[in-house]
Symmetry: C2
Subunit: 338 residues, 2 copies
């Protein structure tokens, strides 16, 4: 700032010399002292020349990530919300608020999973469209046990999607699969309790305590954006909406500040407990799109999530219109151990 202004023009000799020095320094990795000796100037001079070369854009440094990733927002999100990992996927241009999670979200999450999962881990998968997409996009995964964290959502086309996802992940990984053939939301607590005692379901649930990496989805309290919302009656929807539900994750409900609300719902659901989830060293949430942005913020503020895969639209909202809230970064065991 104090020396060469960008406005004063450099002559060709200065330019060429600066370029030569910059080449030595940045591309050939020579030290400034070596360069100073070669050019017969003091090392301070070299430093000044390089500094001004930087100012004048004679040296251009760019950080290139694959086009679909937004490094800047990823980093900002990670820092702001105290996440261990944040990956922001570029939202397709022109696609407005009603776009669901883009295809990319799943593919990128699959890549992230490949990084986070180590051999011997126990991977838990909740329900979610993006999670299905992710499972399909998985191409390699270290050997690990895969367990289903929630019941399935039994409407729409991808009926047994969650089961499929668990099977697919286990197949790619080469490990055991522990799916659950049960709906996520049941008519009443009794039915749910009965189901939980079923051999297969109980077997799967017995792994919940061992899960080292969980993948969850986030929905907002709107039709077609929350699995649970869609599964309830109008009266029930109204009931929970009055509690101030802002987000739903694996059938757990949160208000805008990330506090659990409507805990009674849990009794009717086949899902992993929030407290158990909190003990999972690495919880990856996948959700994107404008409509889910608020919900994602709410869940982040709950402190249940350690990593996030989202898109530009949601990231912008989280960065510009929401605050991380009081809960600091998570203090969990490092997900490194098995």
């Amino acid at each position: 700032m104090t020396t060469g202004r960008s406005s004063v023009r450099m002559g060709p000799a200065e330019m060429v010399q600066a370029a030569a020095m910059a080449r030595r320094f940045y591309l050939e990795g020579k030290s400034k002292i070596q360069i100073a000796e070669e050019f017969g100037v003091s090392r301070f001079k070299v430093a000044r020349v390089l500094e001004s070369a930087l100012e004048r854009d004679l040296v251009r440094i760019e950080i290139r990530v694959p086009a679909e990733l937004d490094a800047e927002r990823s980093d900002a999100l990670r820092a702001r919300y105290g996440l261990r990992n944040a990956v922001v996927v570029e939202s397709p241009e022109g696609q407005a608020s009603d776009a669901p999670d883009p295809e990319n979200l799943g593919a990128v999450a699959a890549g992230l999973l490949g990084e986070l999962v180590n051999e011997g881990d126990v991977l838990g998968l909740a329900w979610g469209r993006s999670i299905i997409t992710m499972a399909n996009a998985l191409d390699r995964l270290p050997p690990c046990t895969v367990v289903q964290l929630t019941g399935v959502y039994d409407a729409g086309t991808a009926e047994r999607g969650s089961v499929e996802a668990v099977r697919r992940a286990a197949a790619v990984s080469g490990g055991e699969a522990h799916p659950m053939y049960a709906p996520m939301v049941l008519p009443d607590a009794a039915t749910a309790a009965a189901l939980r005692k079923q051999t297969g379901i109980a077997a799967a649930m017995s792994y919940f305590d061992k899960v080292t990496v969980a993948v969850v989805s986030i929905g907002s309290w709107e039709p077609r954006v929350s699995t649970v919302y869609d599964a309830l009656s109008d009266a029930e929807r109204k009931h929970y909406a009055d509690l101030g539900v802002a987000a739903e994750m694996s059938s757990h409900l949160f208000d805008a500040d990330g506090r659990r609300v409507g805990r009674d719902l849990r009794e009717r659901c086949i899902t992993v407990d929030a407290d158990r989830l909190r003990r999972v060293p690495e919880v990856v949430a996948i959700a994107g799109g404008m409509r889910k942005a608020q919900a994602v913020g709410a869940v982040l503020r709950s402190g249940l999530v350690t990593s996030l895969v989202t898109d530009t639209a949601a990231a912008d909202h989280l960065l510009n219109h929401q605050s991380p809230g009081p809960r600091p970064a998570l203090e969990r065991a490092d997900p490194g151990e098995a």
Copy 2:
């Protein structure tokens, strides 16, 4: 080289983290230690991540110079021939060996002169087409005295070109002009001697010892490529060619090794002595094109020249087909003082 291979794929989290670290380091100027603290890793980890980011082209550093300059060849020439400054101008594409010095050469030389000349300097200009071009391209020059170093070449269109160049340079600079109204090559030594006694010419020549920056041109011993060659008779041309003339500069002749030959020619010429030229702290030669490449090499080997402005074609020849010769870099007074 030892750590991350370029072939092993990075997951999105690693990618995003590497990008974030690279941004901090390269664009925001944070230290690796700061980055290590922020990300909760050791500074060595940061160093390794940045190193691998460099290997994987996640960080791209490019040295950008104005398109017309060839930084790499400039630097190579400077280093190989021990020059103080070397500037290589991009030869226009497809323009073959018979291209004379491109327009750019003069413009770039003008810029170089603006750098090299300081207030109070005495600038000497020899004859040469590029020097005329250069003078026309001059846009600013510190106040200095401008002296004509050689007589003019009195044929062709730009008849009094050299005089014009001196006047123009003085006008831009705001200093005195000392032109010489005399031809460069004369029929015999007596005529030359008589001319040298002329008031105006003698006045100009009295400045030769004070010249601090000289600009000269280089020609090869061919028609239309050397001013002197064109001014001689066939017999004379043959005579000097038999002496092994490879280059001509301000009516001084050099063989391929940079040794002076045909010194008798000097008697017939109005020009600055080679020995005086050698005492000038900064001698800038301007010459380009394939046909002059050999000649440029010869003059460089004479050690008379401290800086060179040339083009890609000549530079390639100088770098690939010629050697710098025994004479090391010049040991002259720094051109800094007035």
